[in-house]
């Protein structure tokens, strides 16, 4: 079932269907974790992957309004026979290895043990592997800051800012951060012109603010 969902994921042309197939892969992998006596990892798999990450992905797909991929001629057509022969060699090696693993003495089989339980994972995480755990938290902090920086829209101004009335001039990199070292002066003669340059919506003055 996991393989079927994965193939359907790669095969779909619409990224949204592909995302839904990926959720199927994640959930069947969680079932496999349960059979491998790892219930904590299975729960975390469902929560983080099938919950958080896929919601993010689907949200971005909706936000960017992705259209279906169109079919295009394949590049590098001359390399196809080489690829097929390499794949055949790889499959032969894999079959060889699996055959000899099956005929070799049996590997230890899984029984019910306390390995996958939440308590043992927690005690391992907070004693032996405390330093990687803390590094992970720093990594998450960096990811939060980086994602906010990347996804921010252009300028540094908050949405409800107004302009000073009257004649004024700006450095060019204040108006457009992509031209950062450029300090050429841009002159705005009136307040309306300054609002247009800064991209600031005019804030209507309400009665109670005066």
């Amino acid at each position: 079932m996991a393989i079927g969902c994965a193939i359907s994921m790669v095969g779909q042309r619409n990224p949204l269907y592909s995302a839904i197939s990926l959720v199927g892969v994640f959930i069947s992998l969680a079932c496999l974790y349960v059979t491998l006596a790892a219930p904590f990892i299975a729960a975390v798999q469902v929560i983080i992957y099938a919950g958080a990450i896929m919601v993010l992905v689907v949200f971005v797909i909706m936000l960017l309004n992705v259209e279906e991929e169109e079919r295009r001629p394949m590049r590098l057509r001359s390399l196809v026979p080489i690829a097929v022969s390499l794949a055949a060699i790889l499959f032969a090696e894999a079959a060889f290895i699996i055959f000899f693993v099956q005929t070799s003495p049996a590997t230890p089989t899984a029984n019910v043990s306390d390995v996958g339980l939440t308590a043992s994972i927690g005690s391992g995480l907070f004693t032996t592997y405390l330093l990687p755990f803390e590094i992970t938290s720093i990594l998450l902090l960096m990811a939060v800051v980086g994602a906010m920086t990347l996804a921010r829209r252009g300028g540094l101004l908050p949405a409800n800012v107004g302009v000073v009335p009257g004649y004024q001039s700006f450095a060019k990199d204040t108006l457009d951060p992509r031209t950062t070292p450029d300090l050429t002066q841009v002159v705005a003669r009136t307040s309306e012109e300054a609002e247009r340059l800064l991209g600031v919506a005019k804030v209507p003055h309400t009665q109670d603010s005066e």
Binding site: A6, L29, A38, Y49, A143
Partner: protein, 101 residues
């Protein structure tokens, strides 16, 4: 019929291969992104299988950390995708082959 370790390893290898093929074949950035997630999951399956068969909890701790890295990667990667889309109005990787704005 008791599941063998090699079954899980074979399934993991197949999933990883599908992920690699997807990254190479797809042109859409989001689809490539999801294929990378698939590869991470294949590696996680290997870790959990070994950890369960050898009665060692270290593999599952490592899976936990890999999941954290995947979440961070998802956040940053989707931020990059949104930034690229704002600049180019396209999600095709061939349009983004240069790093210039």
């Amino acid at each position: 019929m008791v599941p063998q370790l090699s079954w899980y390893l074979a399934l993991s290898a197949v999933l990883f291969t599908i992920g690699v093929v997807g990254v190479m074949v797809k042109r859409n950035v989001i689809s490539m992104f999801m294929c990378i997630e698939l590869m991470l999951n294949a590696v996680n399956l290997t870790f959990v299988a070994f950890s369960s068969f050898f009665r060692d909890v270290t593999g599952q701790l490592f899976v936990f950390i890999v999941m954290t890295v995947a979440a961070a990667e998802a956040a940053v990667g989707l931020g990059i995708i949104i930034a690229i889309f704002r600049n180019r109005e396209s999600l095709d990787v061939d349009d983004a082959s240069t790093l210039k704005l």
